[in-house]
Subunit: 366 residues, 4 copies
């Protein structure tokens, strides 16, 4: 269903930007996992607006409440209901937007689809919806980490036209969090921050590219043929606001190679089957091969800019809108944690599916 994601570890998000609250229900969580509101809150705090001087000054505490599914500090296997109350509701800031469609926002398409929309802060189309994803992702990544040592790390490789050198090793969390822009290359990070501040000062915005790596993934996750691991990752990423592209491993540039250059040769390394290169990005035939999963996601520049823009109103008449409300000149740094959350949800779901089909009933192979 449209507001649910995952088959076995399934999340359903609900809530509007300026309504009473935002939340998520997680169905299928394994029981007996130790989890606290504080652990979830820690991830939410990484996503929160107002955390640095390059994000929106909207100040929401975004305090998570666990409503169900956890008993005496452990999950019970029943649905986990999580709620964040909205506190900073300035609906009047959106009065103009009731009557006109903000360019490159979802105002027009929601209106076309449903015949109605909550205009305050973008309603359901607001990036606040991702709070539920990040909260659920915090639980998923803890399970993955405890059970397999699987780690997911996203970081920024490009803001506008400022690209970091290629990342070759798995960056530490500290390296990523070292700067407000979450690029693990400090010199580039500095330039990125300067660029963001510069476009903000002009009332403009920029986008960028996030790369994400997942390590310690066992071979065998992913389902042929439609639910390939990369297909589900692609869907997860393109379901995020402002994303325009996804690529795994060699990606679009891989099309510039010949087969003899692109193929990842197998070798026996460290006592197991490994590939000499990783153009596949850790996935072959839709199934993880035990190498690092590596993918990239393109985020367009923030649609809200503090400049007057031509548009039309509900009646189809030409008019002009000037961005209001509080918005990030660049959403990409805050999106890093959302990318990690979605990737964790995809991995955990596939780990559970793999177990169900291939570990529930094991028949001798001869």
């Amino acid at each position: 269903m449209p507001n649910s994601f995952g088959h076995l570890f399934r999340i359903t998000t609900w809530g509007e930007s300026h309504g009473p609250g935002i939340g998520v229900v997680i169905d299928g969580c394994p029981p007996l996992l130790p989890i606290t509101a504080g652990e979830i809150q820690a991830e939410l705090d990484r996503r929160r607006p107002g955390q640095s001087d390059i994000t929106t000054p909207r100040k929401e505490a975004d305090t998570i409440e666990i409503l169900s599914g956890v008993y005496e500090g452990r999950t019970t296997g029943t649905p986990i209901g999580l709620l964040v109350r909205n506190t900073d509701q300035r609906s009047s800031a959106y009065n103009e937007m009731r009557q006109a469609f903000r360019p490159s926002h979802a105002d027009f398409t929601y209106q076309a689809k449903f015949g109605v929309r909550d205009p305050n802060g973008g309603g359901r189309s607001s990036a606040r919806e991702t709070i539920g994803r990040v909260a659920a992702g915090a639980i998923a990544r803890k399970i993955l980490c405890l059970a397999h040592g699987i780690e997911t790390r996203a970081y920024i490789t490009r803001i506008h036209d400022i690209a970091a050198p290629a990342v070759t090793a798995f960056p530490s969390l500290a390296e990523v969090e070292a700067t407000a822009v979450r690029c693990p290359h400090p010199a580039t990070a500095e330039k990125m921050i300067a660029r963001i501040k510069d476009v903000r000062s002009r009332g403009d915005s920029v986008g960028g590219v996030i790369e994400c790596r997942i390590r310690n993934v066992p071979a065998g996750l992913g389902e042929p043929v439609f639910d390939r691991l990369e297909a589900d990752l692609a869907k997860a990423m393109l379901s995020l606001p402002a994303t325009k592209g996804f690529e795994i491993g060699s990606g679009f540039d891989g099309t510039l190679l010949k087969g003899s250059e692109h193929n990842d040769l197998f070798e026996n390394r460290d006592g197991r089957v490994r590939t000499a290169t990783n153009n596949s990005g850790g996935v072959q035939g839709g199934i993880s091969n035990g190498e690092e999963i590596v993918f990239r996601v393109a985020f367009k520049p923030t649609a809200t800019i503090l400049q007057p823009q031509a548009t039309v109103d509900l009646q189809g008449n030409a008019t002009e809108l000037m961005g209001k409300g509080r918005h990030d000149p660049c959403v990409v740094p805050r999106a890093v944690v959302i990318v990690e959350a979605m990737a964790s949800l995809v991995l955990l779901d596939h780990a559970m599916r793999q177990t169900a089909q291939n570990r529930a009933f094991v028949f001798p192979s001869t």
Copy 2:
């Protein structure tokens, strides 16, 4: 489920490359649609190997049989079972591959996942699986065309490093089919064909990029928040063999623009709300906005090459494999029809979902 795709117009494919046959079941097809085996066959013939001198010489008639769901030339609303018998089964060609993993194929990952695999022709991981997709897509596109005039057109924009000039108008089917490489720019097509023949002569392979356009899509298709139209398109495309990337509208290059450059301003044109530019690629907030949908898919070079490659065997020992069997030096031209099929399946499914939620029960808007 892993071998099913779609929510309301749902297909389930089955079959191995060299088993008795390949097929698909379509559940949820609207009744009373006039359809013949010939119409489905016509699409399959576009996908078929051996259709030109740049594809594999594997000669399969790939004759479709309608097993159910059609009565006196019309669909009945019950499941449509479609079957293609495999006729050209040369399992002996694959003897070596039983013992060793072909690089950048799914041999190793299937073995890791299931503990067993049908090695003949890649078994389930063969691109022959897409026969069922193309057959189902033929029905989907007929419905879309009859009901809304929706047309889907894919074509090649790049092979290896040979790129065609940007396509600005919706190409005709004839323009695409004019050359074996399905690039609507004849001069570039010629160069692409030469490149493919060249790499083939060296026992090598190349990949490329397919662009796809969909026109006459009404505003309102696509579901916030997880089942966004672009998210489902991304999943559909990344579920195809050999794909490494997906982008919609401005895509990865869109990250090089500022918000003021990227935003698609609304205007009243032709009596309805239109956008002045189409960086959004026809989708905003996950919902179609009535503009042309435009996306691109990256296909890596074919993994099978006629050169010896290092690999390991089932026991993990180093060995060498030399590509055998009959394979395309470049799968991209044949993939054009598969991309169209998958795009049609996504569009139709969303059209049915849109109807169910928003047209089944219409309440006055005030």
Copy 3:
């Protein structure tokens, strides 16, 4: 997923009996439906404990809060989040139950399944879970009523061995609500109430049978072959706590008739195709035929009784438990509204599915 129900109008419930709250998320609701918290509350009040002298004295206000999906009094098509805070949490009443399994409750099976359980008030297995169903059902029945005049009416036909005369006409809501026991035959209702009070005075409990009728259902709802209307109704009813049986139309007694007696002959009545009798219960081949849908549900006697019962503890040692907490000696009267809610959810979902497949694309029948 286990805590979700429905395909297109999909509800997900969450919450434990004595946790912070209980709730439901509704995904897929048609937009622009006028709805207020008060309308939902009215249905919840029919389900609420403490409403009469034959139910549990547990006094919960059970006040519903709409958290999302409704804007200025109308649904927006986005997920509707509903929350009821638990206020009357007396966990200490359940101390004994942490250590021992209450007979014919879900304590043992939850423990066996999950390795953990919230013992307070039965946790997730409590009938308080049905609050979310009733709230969602209130919305579903309003849509059905506005759009088609479809009405669902459940009532009690038997308590213990006290059976009411067969109901032949569709009872009014007033007739059902006239007595605390919700049996529309006043003389029988009186006897039922006396029986319930009698068993309560002995610390015992009773069950009974609910019949449900749905009128103004258009022909054509229900999906062959697995999602038959009666199959989904059966699942809906057997998903309710304490249910042990479901029958539609002639039901189990229909097996005592011969085909010549059981068949419902067709006739042209009131200008449309009708059946002379209704042994089918309004459904043929899994699809509604336009007659009244009639089904019955068996509810076992309440498991909690105020008598000492033999059982075992967590360590498997024999012990004894005496029912505590506040419980209904007979849950059936309060279950009437839950049966109506579930039936409404099934009907609405099928109405939406019918539209999607059969009305979205209409091809001339020749």
Copy 4:
């Protein structure tokens, strides 16, 4: 989707009674299971018409072909396609039925739903659709048996008003198959057969009740709250043609007991937690408790009778139809194997779900 059943072990059936064939696709089957066409055929032969003198003389070999998913005698984890060609197609026998609706068949409702139907042999509504279920069920029961020793046994307890004495022990397959009517009580079986022959001689038909037992089910299968084991069993059974009721454990008669009589007291027996009685039918709170699962299904008398019956034609005019074609005077004996198949599918699916959530990731319980 309407023609699919199950979440993790998912089957999709397709095919019409008199079309080219009937089949099923099984998605999610565990790999490495040894299986042959012969084993599946053996179950189909139990279902087949013409197997005794109380069934329809329609003689179909119903020969199964495995099209995919099995390699060198073992499942590969990919979809298993199974096909039975229809060979005995006498469409002319159904000419009259094109124009008029057979009473208590699905002719009218299919026409109302889809605006079209394949009239030959009932098309998709024919009981031949269950061939796919039985074939898939054969695989499911082999897995259950190999992995857990789980056995499913269905048998007839009543035909028309002839009831067998209560079955207390789990009957052997030989006892059930000893008579054509599949009632394990020989004296009653004889009377049942006589009754079936008697009604057939009058051109009439009868129904009956099937009871089904499942043993060696581990505690913990079934999902609260909507996917309770009994809810999924109820859906499975009511999805079968001609069924009108389902009850588990004490069923409808359980409503005649008081709580003190109905509750199943726990005791420590054979070193594990058992219940002293089994009114619960092996399921508590929707989850198996380790006792035998016991349920019953009501089958109405066969709708086709060889007597003239009043009906209406496609134009709504009164007319008369006389049963033709070859039909069972009583479908219940052949339905025994279908009930077993569906029960096995439900159990296996839940066993896989249980594993995925509760065994994939095991956290220490303190």
